[in-house]
């Protein structure tokens, strides 16, 4: 079987970062901007401040314990992951439960580029040009039933492909979940690329979640299962340290982690911190999801 791996993609298919930027400048010079083409006005906030970090930063500094607990471990170790062929099991309160190949599940949908702020619960941050499909488009075609109140996601469990799983530093497999309205929010992405290239293994190939208003650990990587459920699902870090990590994990500068302040964040590569924005700067689009909720209790 021919398995196309990122390394097999001819270099002619890959947009060099410099060309990516020059295209971007060219688009800007035509006055198109980024937001206009995507029909999501206001999404980008102060667009000129949202310059993505470099490919090397985004793909070289990762929390992906399945490949080791050090930030540079995933880049060094994730070559053992085989992102193709890859199947995703859809289960639970849904009309079309099935095992889909990663290519079939997106067939016919339009991928989009989204430049998002990414805020880690450890108080560092970056900006990444993700490439993917709004989760809502996928959910709509799967047709969840009325009992589907939450969506649960599961990462691959395979200690051969993911050697970090040989140590029980976390409960494997990694699991995460979203409330249905969070999952259906237009900002929520199933991400398959960065800088227009296939997403590298260390960033969660072949498909990961991106929820830009929540701490990074919500954005589960290398997804093999999507389950529609009635009860709030467990999520791995809340299992590991329930007093430190919650289910909601919305970026919130006013609610500290027990061991450090969340009021500020340090952009990767920089010496000084900058203030963290409520909902990571996406409050005008997502704050209504949590109206009336005590965000201190539901951290």
């Amino acid at each position: 079987m021919l398995i196309r791996r990122p390394s097999d993609i001819p270099s002619s298919d890959i947009t060099p970062e410099s060309l990516y930027w020059s295209r971007r400048d060219w688009l800007a010079s035509l006055g198109l901007g980024l937001a206009g083409g995507l029909g999501l006005p206001g999404l980008w906030g102060a667009q000129d401040q949202l310059k993505p970090d470099s490919w090397d930063i985004i793909t070289g500094y990762n929390n992906f314990y399945e490949f080791g607990t050090g930030k540079d471990d995933p880049k060094a170790n994730a070559h053992t992951l085989r992102p193709r062929p890859w199947s995703i099991a859809v289960e639970g309160e849904v009309k079309r439960p099935a095992v889909y190949s990663v290519d079939d599940i997106f067939k016919g949908l339009t991928p989009q580029e989204r430049i998002y702020r990414h805020r880690c619960v450890e108080a560092w941050s970056m900006v990444a040009p993700w490439f993917g499909y709004p989760l809502r488009d996928v959910i709509k075609r799967l047709e969840p039933g009325s009992k589907a109140k939450y969506v649960e996601f599961v990462t691959l469990l395979d200690p051969v492909q993911m050697p970090g799983q040989r140590r029980s530093v976390l409960d494997w497999p990694y699991v995460e979940g979203l409330r249905m309205d969070e999952a259906m929010h237009p900002l929520t992405l199933l991400t398959v690329g960065i800088y227009g290239k296939p997403i590298p293994n260390q960033n969660g190939a072949p498909v990961r979640l991106t929820v830009p208003w929540k701490y990074g650990f919500k954005s589960i990587k290398s997804i093999v299962k999507i389950r529609f459920v009635e009860q709030q699902p467990h999520n791995t870090w809340a299992i590991a340290a329930p007093d430190e990590y919650g289910f909601y994990a919305n970026v919130n500068p006013n609610v500290d982690h027990p061991r450090w302040s969340q009021a500020k964040e340090r952009p990767l590569g920089q010496l000084f911190k900058k203030p963290t924005l409520m909902f990571n700067g996406y409050g005008d689009q997502v704050a209504s999801l949590y109206a009336g909720m005590d965000l201190r209790a539901n951290f």
């Binding site: 930063i57 070289g60 500094y61 314990y65 607990t69 930030k71 540079d72 450890e122 560092w124 530093v169 976390l170 590991a240 340290a241 027990p258 061991r259 450090w260 302040s261 340090r266 990767l268 590569g269 920089q270 010496l271 000084f272 911190k273």
Partner: protein, 210 residues
């Protein structure tokens, strides 16, 4: 060269050079952009680990002295201890400048609120006391009390390891290794001194007989 000369002219300069090497490496990495993607965290971890390692080397002098029965090694202890304090101070300064942006109000808040910082800051205070009482005239002035005072290095080392352990998110392998090393260094001190006494010398052969 006598042993005292060897220590003064060779061993101590080597310790100075080795002791300044981690700092030199950090300055080089800082100036040439070789720090990791989270530069401040990288510098904090590096200087903190360096402080602990040098503290362990300081605590290894006594065991080494007993095993080798070279009492002159004691002359290295103060210099090593001061280097450990120095890296602790650099570690704290990086935190104060880059994380707290020199806000002493924030410092008070963090020290009061976060146990691992409470412990880390206490260790720095303990080491400051040891550093301040390390000159010869202080040793003379304090007399017998100096020795009891300087036993707080054990507390400082244990606090340093606890601070390291508590700062971890999940993976505590490295702090546990540090804890094991410290436990070894402290347990060694429980071995009775007579174990290290020189073996009884054989009766000397009478003069003139070979």
């Amino acid at each position: 060269m006598t042993e005292a000369q060897l220590i003064r002219r060779v061993v101590k300069p080597v310790i100075w050079l080795a002791g300044l090497t981690p700092l030199g490496y950090q300055v080089w990495a800082f100036l040439t952009g070789h720090l990791e993607a989270e530069p401040v965290k990288g510098m904090e971890h590096f200087t903190g680990r360096t402080a602990l390692v040098i503290l362990f080397i300081t605590l290894a002098i006594t065991p080494l002295r007993r095993v080798t029965r070279r009492n002159s090694l004691i002359k290295l202890r103060r210099l090593l201890g001061l280097f450990a304090f120095f890296y602790g101070l650099v570690h704290f300064t990086i935190f104060l400048v880059f994380d707290l942006e020199l806000s002493f109000g924030d410092l008070a808040h963090e020290v009061m609120k976060r146990p691992y910082i409470t412990v880390g800051f206490s260790v720095l205070l303990l080491l400051s006391v040891l550093a301040a009482t390390s000159p010869q005239f202080m040793v003379r002035k304090l007399g017998k009390r100096w020795q009891s005072l300087h036993r707080i290095i054990y507390l400082a080392a244990a606090g340093g390891v606890l601070h390291f352990l508590w700062a971890q998110k999940k993976d505590i392998r490295l702090p546990l290794i540090y804890a094991a090393v410290l436990a070894g260094l402290l347990l060694f001190r429980l071995i009775p001194l007579r174990v290290f006494a020189p073996p009884a010398r054989p009766a000397r052969t009478p003069a003139g007989v070979r």
